[in-house]
């Protein structure tokens, strides 16, 4: 690899994948075939490549923002599978289904293969020329760049580009990001994303944080959860209580799932504080004052949680410390979401968890590569700007707002108002279809990048306090399509249009990245005397580099003074609360065209290849709905038709529809599957942060008279074992001896 004339991509080339490469059509042909297939052979081959034996190259997963470190299994020039990097503090060698499906994003048959100008294939030179033309004479303030979460050197380049354009309009949008939580955390603990230590807690009370499914860094939290559940741990087996109106994967794994009335999470938190006080825990005066009015009886009435339950929970929290209270998307998606989050954060303060299970995290020492995290408020402001005709040229990368913006925002119409829209896209999704110019991206398995995760997990042991890391994404195989380019390369080319001489030393993004990394060798754990090539190779082979991060500090000064928690008001016309459910595999729908994800059943309903609406059996009985009824879910902003699924894990006042389905474009596996729940969300905003409140939509449900057989993994008896107690068994914790287990 250190040979000068050796281009790394050479051996990643797919060469003659006959017999040894893939065994297609396994059976049938039983004879020896002479001379029909070609042997995999190479011109040159590094000594570590042995045919039929896989090589593993470290890289970083791009399927969600957690940024797990992965190893790509490469054989005969093809990447076959993503496996976890065992040394990574984030995922510790593990993977989730979404991450594993990354290879299907790479090999996807529906990828865009060449630049498209209004649907016509053009060359890259022409495409870049068109961009230069269109930017000609446009003021910086008239250019907007919409991205999702970003970090690393691509972000640095983007920053440079925006500077060159003289634009400050970089909008970072994520449809399902925990944006309210960040703000609330900042207020309560002083850091927006502290390290949660589920593994150290004896009790975890999670207000709708689906940390095993789709929340922040699920694989990392799953690791912590595995520790937390170990009976042989010094703290003993941990207890998980999940409080949320719609059961998430985490709720399904809780010792106690509490189906709270939607929106009343903050009330319940204060009720628990109140009960804790009654149980004899010392409560700081301001908190005591704030929670004084929330007697268990009142709280019980508002939240639908029994008094007994609240008291039991308080007793458990008092007895078993340290505990950890988490705020998740289910609690923050309201107009008073920030208030909810603040009330819940008080619990951590009261219970003395801050500093114990809520730890300070560190951020990378280079601000230009630190993650820009997306939120929904930025989309709203972009939308407002578009509506006002402020932006002439709009770039979008890695986001699909036409699909995921609430219909009430009328984003699609506003987007059309911009003169020239450029989408950097891997698929021809809804946004790319609405764009004028589509530039095809390389997949994450062909591209170079660095990634700094927002949630900075740290390895065990000393030195974890100031730990920060930067992960590397490197090509795992040769480009499938010669006419695709990496985002870094495109940005570099665009920069060269503006300032050719400043960037002329960099042939491509790889060169830029390499030089940027080598320049900061020392900060990245190397010595100044290290050979550049050796250092670079070692870094790549590790897949990530630890850095001495800028450590933050957590404070326990959350104030309880300005809490205003509204009581729930009944909506006569739209009596049910719609909860858009975020599933671990589908998330916001950007991975909907990966068939493994479509075919892997939703863990709770086991439904595949379609969306559904979850209804509590009691509500369904009232409405006369049975499983498989096609129903119309109507809000003030829109209507969707989908199949009804009776689900015990949802509050009777709520219904839930998964997000990510209902694509009208994107590819053969995503198109036309299910209904898009984003399209029917009301435009209600969190009062403090301006975030779109996802759970604030009231709906009504009506039957259409049609009925289908739901396509799902579970059989007609549902989750019943039909009296067979020896299939999936559950025992009470005090009935087993967990402490001596191996």
């Amino acid at each position: 690899m250190t040979e000068n004339d050796f281009n790394r991509r050479d051996f990643l080339k797919v060469l003659g994948w006959g017999g040894t490469a893939v065994a297609l059509s396994g059976c049938g042909n039983t004879s020896i075939e002479d001379g029909k297939e070609t042997v995999t052979s190479y011109v040159t081959l590094p000594s570590y490549v042995i045919p039929s034996i896989s090589n593993y190259f470290n890289s970083t997963c791009a399927q969600c923002e957690a940024g797990c470190n992965i190893m790509g299994r490469v054989r005969e020039g093809r990447v076959l599978k993503a496996e976890g990097n065992p040394n990574s503090p984030i995922n510790r060698g593990r993977m989730c289904g979404l991450g594993l499906s990354g290879v299907q994003a790479h090999y996807n048959p529906d990828r865009v293969r060449q630049p498209l100008l209004k649907g016509e294939a053009i060359t890259w030179d022409k495409a870049l020329g068109v961009i230069a033309d269109k930017l000609n004479g446009v003021k910086g303030a008239e250019v907007a760049f919409l991205t999702g979460n970003m970090s690393g050197h691509v972000q640095a380049l983007l920053g440079n580009y925006m500077d060159e354009l003289g634009s400050k309009n970089h909008f970072s949008y994520e449809a399902i990001s925990p944006a309210v939580l960040r703000a609330a955390n900042k207020k309560a603990y002083g850091v927006s994303m502290p390290r949660y230590r589920i593994d150290k807690a004896r009790v975890v009370v999670s207000f709708g944080a689906d940390f095993l499914g789709a929340w922040v860094s699920p694989v990392h939290f799953s690791q912590q959860y595995a520790q937390f559940r170990k009976g042989s741990r010094p703290e003993g087996r941990g207890v998980l209580v999940q409080i949320e109106p719609k059961m998430t994967l985490t709720g399904a794994n809780a010792d106690r799932w509490i189906g709270v009335r939607p929106g009343s999470e903050g009330v319940l938190a204060l009720g628990i504080i109140n009960a804790l006080g009654k149980a004899g825990l010392a409560i700081p005066a301001d908190v005591a004052a704030a929670s004084k009015a929330y007697t268990p009886e009142r709280v019980s009435g508002e939240t639908d949680v029994t008094v007994e339950q609240i008291e039991k929970l308080a007793a458990l929290l008092k007895e078993r410390t340290p505990s950890l209270v988490l705020t998740g998307s289910a609690a923050e998606g309201y107009a008073h979401g920030s208030q909810n989050a603040a009330a819940i954060a008080l619990l951590n303060r009261v219970l003395g968890n801050i500093g114990k299970t809520v730890e300070a995290s560190a951020s990378v020492p280079f601000p230009q590569i630190a993650p820009t995290v997306g939120n929904r408020a930025s989309l709203v402001s972009l939308n407002d700007g578009l509506a006002a005709g402020k932006y002439k040229v709009v770039f979008s990368y890695g986001v699909n707002p036409v699909f995921s913006a609430p219909a009430a925002l009328k984003f699609k119409d506003n987007y059309a108002k911009a003169d020239f829209k450029v989408a950097f896209a891997q698929y021809l999704d809804e946004t790319a279809q609405a764009a004028d110019l589509v530039l095809p991206l390389e997949s994450a398995m062909e591209d170079w990048a660095t990634v700094v995760p927002e949630y900075m997990a740290a390895p065990e042991g000393a030195g974890s306090a100031g730990y920060a890391q930067m992960s590397f994404r490197q090509p795992l195989m040769d480009k499938l399509y010669p006419d695709t380019r990496g985002i870094g390369d495109i940005l570099l080319a665009l920069l060269k249009q503006r300032k050719a001489d400043k960037y002329k030393e960099f042939d491509d993004f790889y060169a830029y990245l390499r030089s940027a990394v080598l320049k900061n060798k020392v900060a990245l754990g190397g010595k100044a005397t290290d050979d550049d090539d050796v250092f670079w190779d070692e870094t790549l082979s590790k897949g990530f580099v630890p850095m001495k991060g800028i450590a933050g500090a957590v404070s326990a000064k959350a104030s309880a003074s300005d809490l205003r928690l509204p009581s729930a008001t009944a909506d006569q016309e739209y009596p049910l609360r719609l909860i858009p459910a975020v599933s671990a595999s589908m998330r916001d729908g950007r991975n909907a065209n990966e068939p493994w994800l479509q075919e892997s059943p939703d863990p709770l309903t086991t439904i595949v290849w379609d969306s559904w609406v979850e209804i509590n059996p009691k509500t369904a009985a009232k409405l006369g709905i049975v499983e498989g009824d096609i129903v119309e879910v109507t809000s003030r902003s829109g209507t969707i038709r989908t199949q009804a699924y009776l689900f015990p894990g949802i509050h009777p006042d709520a219904v839930s529809v998964p997000v990510g389905y209902g694509h009208e474009a994107m590819g053969r596996y995503a198109k036309g599957v299910g209904a898009n729940v984003f399209a029917m969300l009301d435009a209600v905003f969190d009062k403090e942060t301006g975030e779109l409140a996802l759970n604030e939509t009231g709906v009504k449900i009506s039957k259409t008279g049609q009925r289908v057989v739901i396509v799902k993994e579970e059989g007609p008896v549902g989750g019943s074992q039909a009296g067979k107690k020896k299939i999936a068994v559950q025992v009470a914790a005090d009935k087993v001896d967990l402490s001596k287990e191996v």
Binding site: R78, S600, G718, V731
Partner: protein, 293 residues
């Protein structure tokens, strides 16, 4: 050939393998020093489906699509089952204590009901304790599936690679070359990642040492975010799986475990449908729930 073999093998194979008449293992007769086994901690399992997707990736499983899925023709070797509490009665579901998840795949039974009934001998017991499935030998009578108590055998109802075009170019480049893509009319099932155990055994043999835990992980085990799956050689007392089986007092060739007869048994290892005597090689650990809350 056959008569001399008969005479030669007669005495060798008169006795049953590996379960002799007394109902406990005749390990002496076991032809190798490896018995692959698994244990799955349901208390850790979160039901996230990562194992199942990993299995799709590793074992070239076809994605059949909605239409065929609706006909029950899904090809997931590892399926995640989700059960509810039924405190109020059968079919009356109660979500207060969450759900229970159970990853189900071929249990690699020691006395597998599927093996004896295959008319062509396409499924046999291997010397390392697996229940093999020889795709090319299969004629598709589906008798094995009919006789499987767990219903974990999956039949190729269609010609997925060629006629159904399940792997359109370039999706087919992802296929794992270590095992074939099965064509229509063939039964298939979980193999405990045969290609991985094969490589592990091969490497260990080349190095002249027994197989260790660190040599091999199944794809599901490797992916599992909570590490609920343990896999290894049950005959190696140093292996994690053997330790777990031992500490849970689960013995491979018993249909009723001694510990289950005892009062106040504080262990949680069990095997599914043990009473049918297939002697499954997968031990599950009961899900635990705190009752104080």
């Amino acid at each position: 050939m056959s008569v001399s073999n008969l005479l030669e093998n007669w005495s060798k194979f008169r006795h049953t393998h590996p379960v002799d008449d007394k109902g406990h293992p005749d390990w002496e007769a076991y032809p190798s020093d490896i018995k692959w086994a698994m244990s799955i901690d349901l208390d850790a399992c979160t039901g996230c489906n990562a194992c199942s997707v990993a299995c799709y990736a590793e074992n070239n499983l076809p994605v059949v699509g909605k239409e065929k899925y609706s006909h029950g023709q899904a090809m997931h070797w590892m399926r995640i089952e989700r059960y509810w509490d039924e405190s109020a009665g059968v079919g009356e579901f109660d979500a207060d204590k969450g759900a229970r998840f159970l990853p189900m795949m071929c249990q690699q039974c020691e006395a597998a009901p599927c093996e004896t009934v295959c008319p062509v001998g396409a499924t046999n017991h291997t010397e390392d304790g697996l229940n093999s499935q020889i795709y090319n030998r299969c004629i598709g009578s589906r008798y094995c599936s009919a006789n499987c108590p767990y219903k974990v055998r999956y039949f190729n109802w269609y010609n997925y690679p060629e006629q159904e075009k399940v792997w359109p170019e370039p999706l087919n480049q992802q296929l794992n070359p270590d095992l074939t893509v099965r064509t229509k009319g063939v039964m298939e099932k979980c193999t405990f990642c045969k290609q991985r155990t094969y490589t592990a055994r091969n490497n260990a043999k080349t190095e002249g040492r027994p197989v260790q835990d660190s040599d091999v992980q199944t794809a599901c085990q490797e992916a599992c975010p909570v590490g609920a799956i343990t896999f290894g050689n049950l005959f190696n007392p140093e292996s994690q799986v053997a330790k777990q089986w031992k500490s849970q007092q689960v013995e491979l060739t018993k249909e009723v475990q001694d510990k289950d007869e005892k009062e106040g048994n504080r262990l949680r290892g069990y095997r599914i449908l043990e009473e049918l005597r297939p002697y499954p090689s997968v031990m599950y650990l009961e899900r635990v729930r705190e009752s104080a809350v």
